[in-house]
């Protein structure tokens, strides 16, 4: 079987670094999928991306696929010949359409009876024939976040396309896209290589580009950056290489060369976060730390050339970072001229949300909510009060206006400068935590209280004015806020009913400011987020539903039930109890009889006597267990009812002819069901 290597490269004007990987991987999977679907096999595929190219190299690609046969079905055999045994028009028509004589047709049995048909031999497809179309489709399916046109043509891509290189072994396959024709020509490095580069063999793709100062493999570029950056750290220093920055920097160059520059150590008096942000967000620099974690007054930039004068590049970058750091230092100095608390006046001028007032209003509400819930979280109310009067003040500081990502951190610096306690400062910083799923929770009860209060205010307020998130629209990040509330409540306010938490928020608004049913709506929204919260622990939606059916609205209580259920589930015992519950629920649902209490005198069968007895003997323990949150123990008690229940269904006729008997038996079932429902609705878990 002969095979060759296929190499396709889409040459482009610089694509945005953040999109390269997704686009290249899509191109690769599109091509591999198309090749598989064409019945061709290959050994290996590899994908490459740089700012100026997306490429896929597929090695060991079959030149021709295996021949196959396919069955073509015609009319039923019964309808193929008439009474005289002659071919019917249906049969003749089918044979003609297939280009064969009717005599060549055979009978093929199908699930729907015998059909007239034929076996057709299909020659394998030739890679050279099908690949161009496959690539055309794959290119069309590359995700393009924002489409643009260029020149005087109608086609669109993320940036203008400059060339198509398509080689199968040594042969150019013809492909026309974006008004360009494929060729064996590519381009080397924008500055270190002149003119076009001709590729003789697809196998040489990577080595030829490397010879022309392009490292096509992103992983290799990242490895080079890592080692060069690390090598620029001096004794006692560590270069901090963040994965996302590394990927971004790797997507900005074809030939990475790391260079180290420095800045005036005087800038180190500025909060390190501001310095790092200036270096990282604006300039894509890596920073360095000493062993004690302090910042080194240097940066590492990754250039795209082997400069004839590296010093020019270093000095140039130093010139750029200097005014940025000077800005940060200036903001830091001016902000500190007034106290953080004095900035709270300016919060009145900043809108939080049109109908929900200013940031001053929000901060005031947060304070009231925090004070209301503080006792439940064992937080010191004086400290909570002090801190929540300051938490949003840094939002009007020059520093945060320039570096929005430094909200909270900046406030903490300024609070310490004003002589506030470490705890108050840390609350200001930590009340934004957890910032994302999996992020750390606030570290003190006081910070937790304020963080929770802030989220409650946002959820209640935004829901209250009808801005409910839908689909991909969630401008106030309420989903994230909800998951944060769930985590914090489970950690620190396990026993506080959700409605109580939220009411502390809704009470801060005038009655006409938010909708009446806001607390109910937000409660439902939070409960709906629980599957997302428990997704990672592998707790299924049905188990969650079984616990929620009890109507519990306290996160800790719900979780206790959940964990008890998870331990209980999976046993044969659990399955049988779940099935019994479902059966009971169905029977009860069909009946509309008024049920009172069990009439012991009407118990006729042994099985029903035993069930009632068993029920009565466990009921007190179950109530006690549930009221103290020992749901596992309650489930154990309920499990002891299994045999009596099974016997009951085996031996007792619920739908007895005597209406009094029937009603009494339904009453037994209802009480049984109520016992179970104290823990969870097992019926939901029945298979």
């Amino acid at each position: 079987m002969s095979t060759r290597t296929l190499c396709f490269e889409l040459g482009v004007e610089e694509l945005p670094a953040g999109e390269l990987k997704g686009m290249a991987l899509s191109l690769e999977s599109g091509m591999c999928k198309g090749i598989n679907e064409a019945g061709l096999s290959f050994e290996h595929s590899k994908t490459f991306w740089t700012p100026r190219r997306l490429a896929v190299v597929i090695s060991g690609l079959q030149e021709a696929g295996e021949a196959t046969t396919s069955e073509v079905l015609g009319p039923p055999v019964a309808a193929a010949t008439d009474n005289d045994g002659a071919w019917t028009p249906a049969a003749i028509g089918f044979a003609k359409k297939q280009g064969v004589a009717p005599d060549k047709l055979i009978a093929i049995s199908t699930p729907k009876g015998e059909r007239l048909g034929l076996q057709k031999a299909l020659p394998g497809k030739l890679a050279a024939d099908v690949v161009p179309t496959i690539i055309e489709t794959a290119v069309g399916q590359i995700p393009v976040s924002k489409r643009m046109r260029w020149g005087r043509a109608r086609h669109e891509f993320l940036r203008p396309v400059q060339w198509l290189m398509l080689l199968f072994g040594e042969e150019v396959l013809e492909l026309s896209l974006f008004n360009l024709n494929s060729d064996r020509l590519t381009a080397g490095h924008r500055f270190h290589s002149q003119g076009t580069v001709s590729l003789e063999r697809a196998d040489d793709y990577e080595s030829v580009l490397k010879a022309h100062h392009v490292i096509p493999s992103a992983a290799e570029r990242e490895a080079i950056i890592c080692s060069e950056v690390a090598a620029l750290a001096e004794e006692g220093e560590t270069a901090i290489i963040d994965d996302s920055l590394l990927e971004e920097v790797g997507g900005l160059v074809e030939f990475p060369v790391a260079l180290r520059g420095s800045f005036d150590p005087d800038f180190l008096s500025v909060p390190r976060e501001a310095l790092i942000s200036s270096m990282r967000e604006h300039q894509k620099y890596f920073h360095l730390e000493k062993a004690d974690g302090s910042l080194v007054p240097s940066f590492i930039t990754v250039s795209n050339i082997v400069s004839s004068q590296p010093d020019t590049v270093i000095k140039g970058n130093e010139r750029v970072i200097r005014p940025r750091l000077a800005d940060a230092a200036f903001f830091f100095a001016t902000d500190k001229q007034t106290s953080l608390s004095s900035k709270s006046e300016r919060l009145t001028g900043v809108t939080f949300q049109g109908k929900l007032g200013s940031l001053a209003d929000k901060q005031h509400r947060i304070k009231n909510i925090a004070c209301a819930i503080a006792p439940a979280l064992n937080a010191d109310i004086d400290i909570v009060t002090r801190a929540s009067g300051l938490i949003k003040c840094d939002l009007v500081s020059d520093m945060v206006l320039e570096f929005p990502e430094l909200q909270g951190i900046t406030g903490a610096h300024y609070a310490k400068h004003d002589g506030e306690s470490e705890l108050v400062a840390s609350i200001i910083e930590e009340h934004y935590w957890p910032k994302y799923s999996g992020d750390t929770l606030p570290s003190t009860p006081e910070a937790m209280t304020v963080a929770l209060a802030d989220r409650i205010d946002t959820l209640v307020g935004i829901f209250g004015i009808g801005e409910i998130p839908s689909g991909s629209k969630d401008p106030f990040a309420l989903r994230r806020a909800s998951l944060a509330v769930i985590r914090m409540a489970l950690d620190s306010a396990r026993d506080m009913p959700i409605r109580t938490l939220l009411s502390a928020g809704s009470e801060q608004f005038d009655t006409d400011q938010i909708a009446n049913e806001t607390v109910e709506n937000v409660t439902a929204y939070l409960l709906d987020r629980l599957p997302a919260h428990y997704e990672e622990s592998g707790i299924g939606v049905d188990v969650l539903r079984a616990a929620l059916e009890t109507g519990s609205d306290t996160f800790g209580d719900i979780e206790d039930r959940l964990f008890a259920l998870v331990d209980f589930m999976g046993s044969e015992l659990a399955e049988s109890l779940a099935a019994a519950n479902k059966r009971v629920a169905n029977i009860l649902a069909k009946s509309d009889a008024e049920l009172g209490s069990i009439d012991l005198s009407l118990l006729t069968e042994n099985a029903e006597k035993r069930l009632v007895q068993a029920l009565q003997s466990v009921s007190e323990d179950i109530v006690t267990a549930c009221s103290t949150g020992r749901f596992a123990s309650a489930l154990e008690q309920l499990a002891s009812l299994r045999d009596p229940i099974d016997d009951f269904f085996d031996q007792v006729m619920v739908n007895a002819d005597d209406p009094a008997l029937k009603r009494n038996r339904l009453t037994i079932l209802k009480q049984l069901r109520e016992q179970f429902l104290m823990v969870a609705d097992l019926a939901v878990l029945a298979r």
Partner: protein, 313 residues
């Protein structure tokens, strides 16, 4: 090689782009916030006609004034603007050649095209492209126009905007814009400060403290009605001048903090509405002339398309 003076830099860019097929124009004699407002960019980007031009445009951003005290911020500065329509396939290469012509060797300096998407809310315009980094410093904006005045741009105009003070500061190695050498003359060195410092100081006072708010508010209204009236008279270019004047009046009012946050958004929308109106009227006026500067096939297609949509409406 001694570095280029400020005026040599301008002359060099004019020569370079003149030799690259651009009509070298002179600045627009009206206050505008950026070279994009010049009719040679905004209006010429509309419709199917070809157009290649280069020019310096003094740009005024009243809110950016710093009383001549900040070495990097000016309320009046220069942009060097290049527009090529349709955008040529080698537009990036030509830009790099222009840097080489100024003595910037991309094998010495690290030149990078970094994603930047441009949008002008007041002009109802957007495009995709890059900011160009020279050793980490943004020295140019590079944009492929997709829409202007709410209309699709076809063919696409490629636009390059050089921040020439920045570029000159880099080439001359000075830390303050006021230290830039504008020109070496027989009677001595003339700096950017000699030419513009007093202007920065006085204009900052004017912009921030003395611009007459009630008059400007009236003037904005006047410009708005005037633009509408002139469009109805099919006097498109005068109408567009009033759009630019309205825009500048708004910028001054903004610098005076005379417009609240929500009000501000409404003003931007009003300017955009005017820009959109002028854009439509401009394309209509060119269509009446038969799009004389367009490739024949594109002119015919555009005219046919217009006929079809007129018949439909």
């Amino acid at each position: 090689m001694s570095s280029l003076t400020f005026q040599e830099l301008i002359l060099g860019l004019q020569r370079f782009w003149g030799e690259n097929g651009c009509v070298v124009l002179q600045p627009l004699d009206l206050e505008v916030g950026a070279g994009t407002f010049h009719p040679a960019t905004f209006l010429r980007a509309l419709g199917p006609e070809n157009w290649n031009a280069a020019y310096v445009q003094p740009s005024r951003r009243p809110g950016d004034g710093r009383y001549g005290e900040n070495p990097n911020r000016l309320q009046h500065y220069y942009q060097f603007q290049v527009v090529m329509k349709p955008s040529p396939a080698d537009f990036q290469d030509r830009y790099l050649d222009s840097l080489r012509s100024l003595g910037l060797d991309p094998l010495e300096h690290d030149v990078r095209f970094v994603e930047d998407n441009w949008e002008s809310p007041t002009l109802g315009a957007w495009g995709l492209g890059w900011e160009v980094w020279l050793n980490g410093m943004e020295v140019s904006q590079f944009t492929y126009f997709q829409q202007a005045g709410g209309l699709e741009c076809f063919p696409v105009t490629g636009e390059i905007t050089y921040g020439i003070e920045r570029l000159a500061m880099y080439l001359q190695g000075v830390e303050s814009v006021y230290d830039l050498v504008w020109s070496e003359t027989p009677t001595g060195t003339v700096t950017y400060g000699d030419v513009f410092h007093q202007n920065e100081v006085e204009m900052s006072h004017f912009n921030f403290e003395h611009a007459d708010v009630p008059q400007l508010l009236n003037y904005f209204e006047f410009c708005e009605t005037e633009a509408e009236r002139l469009v109805s008279l099919q006097l498109v270019l005068p109408a567009y001048e009033f759009v630019m004047k309205a825009s500048h009046a708004f910028n001054l009012l903004d610098a005076r903090h005379a417009i609240g946050v929500t009000e501000r958004q409404r003003y931007i929308l009003r300017v955009r509405t005017l820009a959109r109106m002028a854009a439509h009227a401009y394309v209509d006026s060119r269509a009446r002339l038969g799009f004389p500067m367009a490739d024949k096939d594109l002119a015919d297609a555009a005219l046919a398309q217009r006929e079809k949509s007129e018949a439909a409406s």
